[in-house]
Subunit: 314 residues, 2 copies
Amino acid sequence: MSLVVVGSVAYDTVETSHGRVEDALGGSATFFSLTSALFVPTHLVAVVGDDFLASDVARLQRRGVDTAGLQRVAGRTFRWSGRYAPHFVSRTTLSTELNVFASFDPKLGAAASMADCVFLANIHPALQASVLDQCARPRFVGLDTMNYWIHGEREALARVLPRVDCLFVNDEEAYALAEVGSLSLAAARILQMGPKALVIKRGEHGAVLFHGGAAETMPALLLDGVVDPTGAGDTFAGGFMGYVASRPVADHATLQGAVVMGTLAASHAVQAFSVDGVERLTFADLASRHQQLVRGLLPAAVQWPAATAAVALA
Amino acid sequence: MSLVVVGSVAYDTVETSHGRVEDALGGSATFFSLTSALFVPTHLVAVVGDDFLASDVARLQRRGVDTAGLQRVAGRTFRWSGRYAPHFVSRTTLSTELNVFASFDPKLGAAASMADCVFLANIHPALQASVLDQCARPRFVGLDTMNYWIHGEREALARVLPRVDCLFVNDEEAYALAEVGSLSLAAARILQMGPKALVIKRGEHGAVLFHGGAAETMPALLLDGVVDPTGAGDTFAGGFMGYVASRPVADHATLQGAVVMGTLAASHAVQAFSVDGVERLTFADLASRHQQLVRGLLPAAVQWPAATAAVALA
C-alpha cells in the first residue's frame, strides 16, 4: 500500500479577511502528500527552485513523505498570489509565476513507479499521461484538472481519462467538460469518457460522488474559524486517495468512506493558513471531527399522513 | 390545525435557458399556499389588481386555499420580471412593478386570525408585525425577509423577530443580519434576536437548521430538468410550515421533518415554470421523491485504523 502524487510545490501569498501570509508553503502536491502520508507511505514527485528552503523539505520529511522525487533545479519556485473576498464568496488571483514549474518533466524513481495508487494533481494532461506511462501497475488512479486544460487541451485530457479511476472536479469544470446542462447528465457523460468514479468538489457545500450508478451527496461541516480555503481541494483529494490506498479494495463502500475522509481532512485545512492545518493532523483529529460531521447531518425522517404510505408504495 | 400566509401574489415574466413565460402566476404567498394547502387548510392574505384573472383565483381555490383574504383593488397586479444565467448561477431582475402591492395593508378575517400557524412572507417588517397583532394566539410563526429590509428597516425587523418561531433566510442575508463572519456565529447571534429556530436556505445546496443548540444540514436533491427556480424558497417554506402545522407539537423532530418536507416540495417547484410544479403536488409525489432523497445521502461511515478508535474515545 503506497501512493505517488505528481503536482506542484509552491510558495503562496494569500490574503483573506483573517490575515495575510507571504511565500507560505503551498502547492497541490504539498497539501495532498502531507494529508495522504497519514494513511500510507507517499512519494512526492514535483519540482522546486534553488530558493526552496531546506526547512520546508524537512517539514515534508517529518510527515514521512518520500521527497526523493522532489527535483531541485536552478531558478525560482512556483509562486501564486491571491486574495479572498469576505465570507470566501470569491477568489481573485493576483499573480501566477510558474518559474521552474513551467518546464516540469515528472520522473518517477523505482519506488514511486511501483506505488499501487497514483494521484495526478492539476498539471498538463500530457504530463499526467507520461506519469502513468512510468507506473508499473497502479490499481487506483485519481486525476484533478481545471478549465484551462478542459478548454485548451481537450484532446490530451480525453486521452488520459480512460486510464483514470476517479476524476475530481468542481461543478463548473464538470459542465465545461461534459458540455451539458445538468449535473447528473454531465456526470453520466463524464463517466462515459473513461473514469469509473467522479467526485464533484463543492467547497463549503461538500461533495458529490458518482459511482456504480449511484449519485450521493455529503455536506461539508459547518465550521467556525475558516481562515484560508487554499489547498482545501487538494487536502480533500489527499484524504480520499490516502483512504483508498489504505483499504484492500476500492469498492463502493471504500469510495463512500473516502469522500467522508476527504471532507474531514479538508475541514482542518481551511482553519489555518498554508499547510498549518494538515501537517500535524492525526487520526484522533479526524475521528473527533467525524463525530461532529455525523451530528450535523439532518436525519431524513418524516411522518407521513397514514394514507400516504399505501399510495407511495403502490 | 390551520395556517395563514401573508405575502405577494404576482404575475412573473421569467426567462431561463429552458424557455420563457410571460405574466405567469407567481408571488411568495401563491407558491407558499399552493404547497401548504396540501397539509392543512390555508388562508391566503394578499392583494391583486383588477387585471387578476378569475381563472387564477380558481386555481388557488381548486387547491383548497381560502381566498377570502385576497383583496382585489383598482390597478395592476404586482409584476416581476427576471432572467437566469445558464446553470442558474445568477439571476438578474429586469423589472419590478409593485403596482397595487405598494399600498398593501393586510387585513385578516375572522377565520384567518384564528389560524394556529402564521407565515409572514417577505414584506415590510412593520406589516409583518401588524399581521401578528391581528392573530389571536398563533402557536408557530415563520418569517421570511431579505437584504432590502435588513439594511433599510433594521429596527422594525428587530421588533418583530422576538415574536417569531422560525426565521428563513439565505447565507448572505444571515451575514447581513448578524454582522459577523461565520455562519455558526451568525446563527447564534440571530437566535439571540428572538427566533427559536433559523433555517438557512441554500437553493441547490439544500438547507441548514439551527435549533435547540443543534446545527444540521440537509442537502438538496440532485435534479435533472431544473427549469425555473423562481418560488423555490417560498415552496420550501410552504412545505416546512404546512408540515409543522399538521403535527401536534413543533419540537426538534418536527422541525427536522419540516426541513425534509420543504426540500421535497421545492424539488418539484423548480422542475416547471410558474406554479405548475406545485399546484397539483400530492403526498405520493413527495413520498416518491423522499426515497430518492434518502438514496442520495452518502452514508458517513468510515473504517478507522484499529488504533484510532481508542485514541478518539479517550
